[in-house]
């Protein structure tokens, strides 16, 4: 563990500032539940701070945090197994709606509308994926983590990660009108 990492983990406010938004995005789109995401991220940061002595520095801080967040998400999904996505899809704002409400960096209104529509289609495709496929897709294409980092964060082998990723990409392509 380097000196910088030590400082970062020793200051929970700095940890929060540096990683909350990124973790929130990953957890929110992994679970489809924004309120649950807030709770999981809070737990994740506290857990990381309290267990900072166990961080050996073999991966980046974010990879370590993503690993903790992934475990917390799985714990919540186990305890809320029967109400999780079903409830979100029926009553809560789903990921498609969330993506559609966000402003785009595109300049013209038409471009912004197209961008929102494309993002909504990706969100809709993600909702149909398995938990592992969705998490790995998000880690790679949203968090821009390397495959090796994904392996560390998920504890999966490289071949397993690649398989999940290929299936996820295929599902998204199909949703976007690609070839079967």
């Amino acid at each position: 563990m380097g000196e910088t990492t030590l400082t970062e983990l020793d200051d929970i406010e700095a940890l929060d500032r540096a990683y909350r938004a990124r973790l929130l995005r990953f957890v929110a789109y992994s679970t489809g539940d924004m309120d649950l995401a807030e709770m999981v991220v809070q737990d994740c940061l506290l857990k990381a701070y309290n267990g900072r002595d166990s961080f050996r520095g073999e991966c980046s801080v974010y990879t370590w945090l993503a690993h903790i967040a992934g475990n917390l998400v799985r714990d919540h999904q186990r305890t809320r197994k029967f109400q999780f996505w079903r409830r979100v899809q029926k009553t809560g704002p789903n990921l498609s709606e969330l993506a559609g409400t966000l402003a785009s960096g595109e300049s013209s209104p038409e471009s912004q509308m197209l961008a929102r529509e494309r993002a909504r289609e990706v969100s809709a495709a993600l909702e149909a994926l398995s938990e592992n496929q969705r998490s790995i897709f998000l880690m790679r294409f949203v968090d821009e983590m390397e495959l090796q980092e994904i392996c560390q964060a998920t504890g999966m082998r490289m071949s397993t990660v690649k398989t999940h990723l290929h299936r996820a990409v295929k599902a998204v392509r199909l949703k976007l009108g690609g070839r079967a």
Binding site: A28, V122, K170, G178
Partner: protein
């Protein structure tokens, strides 16, 4: 890769497409994209959609995290204000003696204004209560006066009744007196008339004797008179 074996076009495999989306650009894939407009269009469409999704989710997460920071800061500020006001309220005995930094703080003034408003509110409530009590007392007194008036009227009525009774007695006495006077007058008149009648009868016997006619001592005068008249 464009492959026209047996007349069928072969496009990028799923793995190659995933690699392409991940940023990998092997020479064979690059060559295929230059030749195959279909794969090129799909790569642009899917890559662009994932990029849009990534960007929008990033914006959402940053806004949400920033909103949380603002909420936390506001909460911290509120807590500090509350503690400041409580601290000020906890030691009111010496506030005049010290230079007061809180005097220039709007939060302290807000607290003081709240305290004044509460005091005024309590004062108004007490004043209203007093007013209500006074009104009740006045109503009570008015009711007493009315009761006294009713009593006085009753007494007056009784007095009038008594007066009427007395008048009736007086009238009765007067009537009785008048009757007595009338009876006495009648008696006196009767006595006078009887006396006059008696006097008149005495004057009538004297002329008969004068004519020699005397009354029989044993007989009555009527028989003698009759014979005389025959």
């Amino acid at each position: 890769m464009e492959d026209h074996r047996e007349g069928k076009t072969v496009h990028l495999t799923d793995e190659q497409f995933t690699e392409l989306l991940m940023g990998g650009r092997p020479a064979r894939v690059q060559a295929h994209l230059q030749e195959c407009a279909e794969c090129r269009a799909e790569a642009e469409r899917v890559g662009g959609a994932i990029g849009d999704f990534s960007e929008q989710s990033r914006q959402w997460a940053e806004r949400r995290a920033a909103a949380r920071v603002l909420r936390t800061a506001a909460q911290t500020l509120r807590t500090a204000e509350r503690e400041s006001v409580l601290a000020w309220l906890a030691r009111p005995q010496s506030w005049l003696a010290r230079p007061q930094s809180w005097l220039v703080r709007p939060q302290a003034w807000a607290g003081a204004a709240l305290a004044v408003a509460l005091a005024v509110g309590i004062g108004v409530t007490i004043e209203r209560e007093h007013s209500r009590t006074a009104q009740a007392d006045a109503a009570k007194a008015q009711a007493g006066v009315a009761a006294a008036r009713v009593e006085a009227t009753t007494v007056q009525a009784k007095a009038a009744k008594a007066q009427a009774g007395a008048t009736m007695v007086q009238a009765k006495v007067a009537v009785q007196a008048e009757a007595a006077v009338r009876s006495a007058t009648l008696k006196a008149d009767n006595a006078l008339l009887s006396a006059i009648d008696g006097e008149l009868r005495a004057d009538e016997s004297a002329p008969a004797s004068l004519y020699g006619l005397t009354a029989d001592a044993s007989g009555d005068g009527t028989k003698s008179a009759k014979r005389t008249s025959n």
